[in-house]
Amino acid sequence: MSELATRLATYLRAKLGAPDLTVANLARIPGGASRETYRFRARYVADGKALDRGLILRRDPPSSLIETERTTEYRAYEAFHRLGLPVPQPIALELGGEALERPFFIMAEVENCTTGGIMSPDPYGQHRESVGRQFFTVLGKIAAAEPKEIGLGDFNGAKDVRATAMHEVARWERVISEDEREPQPIVHAALRWLKRNPPPPAQKMCVVHGDYRTGNFLVDDAGKIRAILDWEMSHLGDPLEDLGWAIDPLWAGADPARPGGMIPRADAIRIWEEASGLKADPKALHWWEIFASLKGAAIWISAALEYADGRNIDPINAFSGWYCLSFHNKVLADRLAAEIGA
């Protein structure tokens, strides 16, 4: 750890033009199987003023759960921070391995906040209604943003409103095909159903966060959402993709009637519609909800393989391969069986 702190300090002295900079209290933050995340203090003098900044380092691990572009994540932080949404300020991006062995980026730490755990029976306590309203409002604002206007028009993803759904199905089918180590009849039935019953074209192209859910944002003691995190799977696509993911039952904890453990489903959708200026057509949203559970299953299958192969033995991957995959298999089975009256 001290070697990492030393190398980090050397890098930041040059990057920030602060020859006196020191790094203190470097500590790894648990969670985040796709990137190593550390918090630390950077102390230095700028313009004659002594600074003591809380910063976050996100470094590529030796093996990554889902192959994601750190450039994508960094650019999303830049764009939405500039737009005024609650997103940490990005500080630096390095794609080479010279400074810290692997690619990384650094952003400002949003301090004195917590994330709501998906296993918590009531993750936001007395603030759940307020947090829920903010959560779905921010998601609506993300959907409302025009990718080209915020500099993300060239992002990965579908290029056309008619292609968003099948583009994502193909993406996750590839992951399943590459990483599946035991036959998954429910997952494959879901893939076939999604292909047979395509949703209408997207209302518009938007930046899809890709993992917008409980556990991926920071809330302060007053119940104010201060930061939306983990943009590594962001891409261009259908605004309903994020909504379907955000209301997936896996994130609902003990109360499935309240997506994300926050507000009732109907309120969540209404707030999202108001903030985005878009409509959540029930039939289209139903398709994206089934897609969300399929995408989840693909991620958990991938996590299980990473773990079983010994490439990343973080216990979160074993947990994902067991709990999360069994959960999404159950959700998919119940929903798809209902389609045929079983």
Partner: protein, 143 residues
């Protein structure tokens, strides 16, 4: 179920032996909490693993025996009859898995056949089995 319990126990031992204190107390605490959860789930899976697989295998065989007579494709019908007549000769997880995977693959082929031929009653019966399989495999946390 991947990863298998044996793999999880071996990698958990490796993780503990390698230590994780160098990353600071919060990281160590978070990791220990997750390891504890994974070990608790391992205990449950150790207890129910063989039962789940035997039950699933028998349910799929019973389904194949019944539905074989509704299938017009002679090759698939014979495969269903043959699979329906198999039994689990060993209760080792690896042996049960081998049979389970073969039965699941055949179940998917039968389901595709039913979807392509629009045989809704067959589809409903398959989904009833799949729902039962998903329910049985659902990992419950807590005591």
């Amino acid at each position: 179920m991947k990863p298998e319990v044996g793999t999880v126990l071996a990698l958990t031992a490796q993780k503990i032996a390698s230590g994780f204190g160098e990353h600071g107390a919060a990281f160590a605490q978070g990791t220990i909490g997750l390891l504890a959860t994974v070990l608790a789930v391992s205990a449950k899976e150790y207890e129910r693993g063989a039962d789940i697989r035997v039950s699933e295998n028998n349910e799929m065989r019973a389904l194949f025996e019944v539905l074989a007579e509704t299938v017009t494709d002679p090759a698939l019908r014979q495969e269903l009859r043959d699979a329906g007549a198999t039994r689990d000769a060993s209760l080792r997880i690896s042996a049960l898995n081998e049979n389970n995977y073969a039965l699941r693959r055949l179940l998917t082929r039968l389901q595709i056949y039913a979807e392509e031929h629009g045989v809704n009653d067959v589809q409903r019966r398959i989904w009833a089995v799949l729902k039962a399989m998903a329910q049985r495999r659902l990992v419950q946390l807590g005591p």
